[in-house]
Subunit: 331 residues, 2 copies
């Protein structure tokens, strides 16, 4: 069973309900019952009209509003009624509700938001994409293990390559924290490709890109917007001449095919790593297709035992908090 | 007179010499004389074959190799033989040589690398693009003043709008250092638009984007590569079908026009701000056209008295180090 918060999607709770039905998975759907349709087939509706907005202070809102849909959905996962959580868009409240109710894997410092990017050269997992604006080296090391476990077991990538995002490829480049994380990752067991630069992110030079949540958030949004601005500029240029407009019609099929291949809705959104159950956050702009993908992604993470395997990989790599306590951890 | 280091361009010193001749400006050209052609017209050649590579530790290399072309070119600016410095690509050595010889404006904490980005919606100045991987709030505030002075006086933008790069538009978003810088910029005299996100960079939502050199470097390289990957994916999709290939031929003229409008070589590269003379760093990939633009940009910065106006703006805004000493500066 997957618990889904139907509030938060730009397209409204109806679109989330539609995505839940289409997913074919068993879903416990929290939201305004009068907009979700009946409990039937694979979907069981729980009336929870109260919504926490993206503009509220997340932790305070989650603590103070137990009736809110995201809080109820997270509670369903915490008490075992559901195996995973999916929300339709508001990152802050989802992160807060999941961290408070579902809780971290024992020994994990911080959960990370991992964005799975559909790129022309393949899929890349970027983490942290915004959960932690400041991190320490041991957090970055954990992010690497968590990201690798996801790509290996949920995405089926054989021995995923990890890059540490920095300002140059050489080991000495970056901040003291980056250099410390580099040293630990280089000494570890992962397929560590060393530092990667901004150039290497869109070209999918590695499978997992590790960074702090500030840089990751900026890089992710910069990529999204640059891709959009580039496509719009080309479209604008094509429309500026009659000959090119005809050409534009002739390339439409090929470009539509490309767009479908790179569609974020097919990927399913971001996943929170480091918690005791899988948590997926769809993009606010997702329609039913994207939400069905998000639910499918959560299901796959459950079936592939992502959490257990992540915990085992962190333990085997000596990256859990207890193992690190004697060395570099400041906690 | 503009001092130009002819070493460092991917296309070789010959391309730099060609760019110097084409610029029409008076140039003192440092590099291997046997590859630069004769001293004639607007170009005076100084034989300086020794080159500092991008892989050497910059400060040590600059200090230890007084005969190197970039060191001699910076010395020419420091002793008044030239008004500005242009280098053809190696950022580290240029930054080190310029900071050591040309020196900072009195009261400036750190020079910043400012990248002038040609975007479909207009030109945006992003700083710092990599000189300082860690910064304090007072550095970010100075970057804002320095960037505004450049855009106003050299690029002719009327009252440039400044954005502070963060993970959300609200004033409270970001690290403690970002929040502190936000507070000071909001209380100041600049046209401060508040926080901007990664989305706002390629869309040119503001004229000047202020950030630390780590985030700025990652964002800049991510933008460059995303734009390239997007264009290549579209080109690849077009070539995959015969009909689309014909369409591709018909749109070629319009797309070429767009490319010319967004050509980095037309902009002239990055400029170091905060030093006592203008310093321009061309992209390593620049050919003669880009290098001529870089020299033209340096000339314009001299003619428009960029340095004097930057110093005056920093002083008027109370952003110089001495003025800040009693409040938040830790220096």
């Amino acid at each position: 069973m997957i618990a889904v918060d139907a509030n938060g999607a730009d397209a409204g709770p109806e679109a989330v309900a539609e995505g839940a039905r289409r997913s074919g998975e068993r879903v416990l759907l929290f939201g305004p019952a009068d907009r979700l349709g009946p409990s039937e087939g694979n979907v069981e509706v729980v009336d929870a009209p109260e919504r926490i907005g993206g503009d509220e202070e997340p932790v305070r809102a989650v603590r103070g509003r137990p009736e809110a849909s995201i809080v109820q959905a997270a509670a369903a996962v915490a008490d075992g009624r559901a195996d995973a959580l999916v929300s339709a868009g508001a990152t802050g409240p989802t992160l807060a509700a999941a961290t408070l109710a579902v809780k971290r894997i024992k020994g994990v410092h911080r959960p990370a938001i991992a964005a799975l990017l559909p790129l022309p050269a393949g899929r890349v997992l970027l983490l942290d994409a915004g959960a932690n604006v400041e991190v320490r080296p041991e957090h970055l090391v954990q992010f690497a293990y968590m990201g690798v476990a996801f790509m290996e077991h949920v995405e089926g990538v054989d021995r995923p390559r990890v890059g540490l995002l920095s300002v140059g490829a050489e080991a000495g480049k970056g901040t003291p924290d980056i250099r410390a994380a580099h040293e630990r990752l280089a000494a570890g067991e992962l397929a560590f490709a060393g530092n990667v630069e901004g150039f290497d992110l869109p070209s999918a030079a590695v499978d997992v890109v590790v960074t702090d949540g500030f840089t990751g958030n900026v890089a992710l949004k910069t990529m999204e917007a640059t891709s959009k601005v580039t496509r719009e500029a080309i479209r604008g240029a094509i429309r500026s001449s009659a000959v090119a407009t005809v050409g534009g019609l002739l390339i439409r099929g090929a470009v539509d095919g490309l767009r479908a291949r790179l569609d974020p809705e097919a990927v399913g959104g971001a996943i929170l790593l480091g918690l005791r159950r899988p948590v997926v956050i769809g993009h606010g702009s997702f329609g039913p297709v994207g939400l069905a993908s998000a639910i499918g992604l959560a299901r796959r993470a459950v079936d592939e035992r992502m959490v257990e395997r992540t915990a085992a990989a962190l333990a085997a790599g000596g990256a859990l908090r207890s193992a690190a306590a004697g060395s570099v951890s400041r906690e």
